[in-house]
Amino acid sequence: MKTTLYIERDSFVHRLHPTAKVFGLFVVFWSIYWVDNPLALMPLALIVLAIALMMGAWENVYRFRWFFILIIVPTMLTWMLFYRVGKPLITLPPFYVSEASLMFGFGRGLKVGALVLASVLFLSGTKVEELAVGLSRLGLPYRLGFTITLAFRLVPLFMESALTVVDAQRLRGYDFDAGGPFERIRRYVPVVVPVFMGALRKANNMAMALEARGFGRTHRPTSFIEYRMHPRDAAAFAFLLALGAVSFWIYYSGLGAIPTG
């Protein structure tokens, strides 16, 4: 099984300097943060989709399709049906649907979707080593940056072990779906405990292996892969700065808000 999201491609995004990639993720998050209005969000969402297309990262988007649906649909519905704002179109307690709440719901769905999509794209186009480099160039201490990248490496391993544990407990007749929502969370104890214990053991093994290969010897390790800034990186930075500025302007001018009148 593949344990990272990285997809080997030779796209414009893949070739960017790691710092540009990390900065790009930051700018997309920033831009999404300031804008609520779905109409104003649309161009942003389209930009992220265009990047996905450019990167050829559809296989990961497809891989996460259920995750997208599970996150976007409930978010949309919750805001659409319960957010008490504006003139109601339908009031059927506890539901409250207005033009503004529909806008909010749609906007929130777009926001969450774009955030997750941007993250998936980032991981599809950035090797963990690049992430470490990008983070350290942006001022994060090497040890901290490297530890963050290790977490990315470990998460898929834990997912895999969680699936095995679920299988093992199911074969012992365990029903994960019994009971109400809180009972259901509690019912995951037989999965969480083995996964957590396994994670501790793995992390411990990894720490030993890291030190045995000299990790910690210097705060400024050299880099095997050479990262040079190219004109394309300058273009990317210019574009990203403009995008961040425009998004903030949309918020500042009030265009990004949802009319509630």
Partner: protein, 588 residues
């Protein structure tokens, strides 16, 4: 920050004739909160270029000793540390692990946790980055390091896409890049299949020829025959230290220390010849001296391919009526992946003892998962006691077919051993008295009756493995499928585990055991199913399997050495005892 470049180790080849590589004097260590010391008063020395094998049961202190050599103990794992460790003549006291790293390379059992990078080349570069080496010098070193482990040409590959043996060899290359003169390998092949083991041991031999000093921890004595010296640890102390012939001929001492004695030596011992067999040929010569009348077997005349084809026909025919489990022409692939099973057949009847063997990726575990219902076949049919598997939930048949996962830690979660075992029956709504009765029964069967109230996480690996079996057994399945039930166990624990499995089989439970371990197959199974590329290519008795030279040659499975020796006499002996009895009867 000191100038890291100045710390880059001296990589000039050294005169290996006289120099001391490792010296350990009066080394004692106790982990925090541990009842007894993990090591007490251990002393030994290694000359440069020497290869030392360290053997002993689980908990004897092997890994602790290894970690003391590169300062993981006491730097990362604290406790009470006494004694002196010298590396190339210099005491290590006060040094950090990363300072020792360029002098003592360390390779661990868990190869997955040793790889952090997204390309093979970068994995090797990692340690070099840490010592602040220039990129030009890195590029000069990566090639030779990969060359040394046979991974040249793999530079751009994602390490996660490698086989187990390749991953472990990469971990070794990653350590070699620092050009340490000493390499410590802590059970480097425990998690590998036979090919992976062979690859890694071949590499170890090569490193030794290059003059590196090696410390290899291992509990299969056979593999350590080529060492210059063996050190046997028991409960934290060295109980024997000497060249292989002086250690490997002391059968009782080895067994008592949880080490599997070499089969050939056991045979020579049983025959009253004694001594240390350096190889199968050597043992054969010794035996022929004692039993001049022993026949020679002509080499197998059937070409391998033909024999395989012939047995394929037989394999398909081996479908007895009234089987408990029946798999017919089943194919399966994981989403987006290649075909793992390609028209597989299998039938398991009541009371059988079947070993399923085959290379990693041949479909063994996938086949088992289809049978227990964790996966659904793309095509073909599986029936359980005559019922169509596809109509049944996995849990619905859990009381008929038990499945013990390879790693017991994938299921253990409860606070006490008793609760762990009772988990299954409670899920199935059995009444409390019945649960109580069954728990007592299975805990007795697996030898954990005195641990009822113990915390499962504090048990040894062998105990946890038996606990996992108990918690499946408590549902009283008619068939028990065990995936690699002895991985990571020492010899004593392996024997204990297999004794339990054999007893279960005698009491009527059919056993299906997925394994890579030749002697387990030879000594315990009655039928062998060999999987290759998603289908069964052999299905017959265990004796037929080991007597089928062409089949064995074609599969990567190796017969136990005693069995291989018996073929030279024209018979099939599955154990040293059987071989000895046969020789006495026919040639004595």
């Amino acid at each position: 920050m000191p100038d890291v470049k100045a710390q880059t180790p001296d990589i000039e080849p050294v005169d290996t004739a006289v120099e001391e590589a490792i010296a350990v004097e009066g080394l004692s260590f106790a982990y925090r909160d541990a009842a007894r010391a993990a090591l007490s008063e251990v002393s030994f020395a290694q000359s440069a270029g020497e290869m030392i094998g360290v053997m002993g049961a689980s908990g004897a202190g092997k890994s602790t000793l290894a970690k003391c050599l590169n300062r993981i103990i006491p730097e990362l794992e604290g406790g009470e540390f006494r004694g002196i460790v010298r590396i190339s003549g210099r005491p290590t006291a006060g040094a950090r692990v990363y300072e020792i790293a360029p002098k003592v390379g360390m390779v661990f059992q868990d190869f997955e946790s040793q790889l952090f990078s997204t390309s093979v080349a970068h994995e090797v570069a990692f340690a070099l980055e840490q010592i602040g080496m220039s990129r030009e010098e890195m590029l000069r070193r990566i090639g030779p390091a990969l060359e040394a482990v046979g991974l040249a040409g793999f530079e751009e590959r994602d390490p996660t896409s490698l086989s187990g043996g390749q991953k472990q060899r990469l971990a070794i290359a990653a350590v070699l890049a620092l050009r340490p003169r000493i390499i410590v390998l802590d059970e480097p092949t425990t998690d590998l299949d036979p090919e992976g083991r062979a690859e890694v041991f071949a590499l170890i031999r090569k490193l030794r020829e290059q003059g590196l000093s090696l410390v290899v921890i291992e509990h299969e004595a056979e593999e350590l025959r080529r060492c210059d010296r063996l050190v046997l640890l028991s409960e934290g102390s060295i109980i024997a230290d000497g060249p292989p012939p002086s250690i490997m001929t002391r059968m009782e001492m080895l067994e008592n220390s949880g080490v599997h004695p070499p089969g050939l030596n056991s045979l020579l011992h049983l025959l009253g010849i004694g001594g240390h067999a350096r190889s199968i040929e050597h043992a054969e010569a010794e035996i022929r001296k004692r039993f001049p009348g022993v026949p020679s077997a002509p080499p197998a005349e059937t070409p391998a391919n033909e024999a395989v084809r012939a047995s394929r026909g037989k394999a398909a025919a081996n479908q007895p009526p009234g089987a408990l489990i029946r798999v017919e022409n089943v194919s399966f692939s994981y989403p987006g992946g290649p075909r793992v099973l390609d028209g597989a057949d299998l039938a398991i009847s009541a009371g059988e003892f079947v070993a399923i063997i085959g290379q990693n990726g041949s479909g063994k575990t996938t086949l088992a998962k289809l049978v227990i219902g964790l996966l659904k076949p793309d095509s073909g049919r599986i029936t359980i006691d005559g019922r169509d598997r596809s109509t049944l939930h996995a849990a619905a048949t859990a009381r008929e077919i038990g499945y013990v996962f390879q790693n017991p830690d994938h299921q253990i979660f409860a606070a006490t051993v008793e609760d762990e075992v009772a988990f299954g029956p409670r899920n199935f709504g059995l009444d409390p008295q019945e649960i109580e009765r069954r728990c007592a029964e299975v805990l007795h069967a697996v030898g954990l009756e005195n641990e009822r109230k113990s915390d499962p996480f504090l048990l040894s690996k062998g105990q946890r493995q038996r606990l996992a079996v108990a918690s499946v057994l408590v549902l009283r399945p008619k068939v028990l499928i065990l995936d690699e039930p002895t991985t990571g166990l020492d010899y004593r624990e392996q024997r204990r585990m297999m004794k339990l499995v054999a007893e279960l089989n005698e009491s009527g439970v059919a056993i299906v055991m997925i394994t890579h371990t030749p002697w387990l197959v030879a000594e315990y199974a009655r039928r062998v199913v060999l999987m290759h590329a998603g289908r069964k290519i052999f299905d017959d008795g265990v004796r037929e399997f080991f007597g089928h030279d062409a089949m064995l040659a074609e599969s990567s499975f190796r017969a136990p050495e005693v069995t291989a020796l018996s073929r030279r006499f024209g018979t099939v002996a599955l154990t040293a005892e059987e071989m000895a009895a046969w020789l006495r009867e026919h040639c004595g």
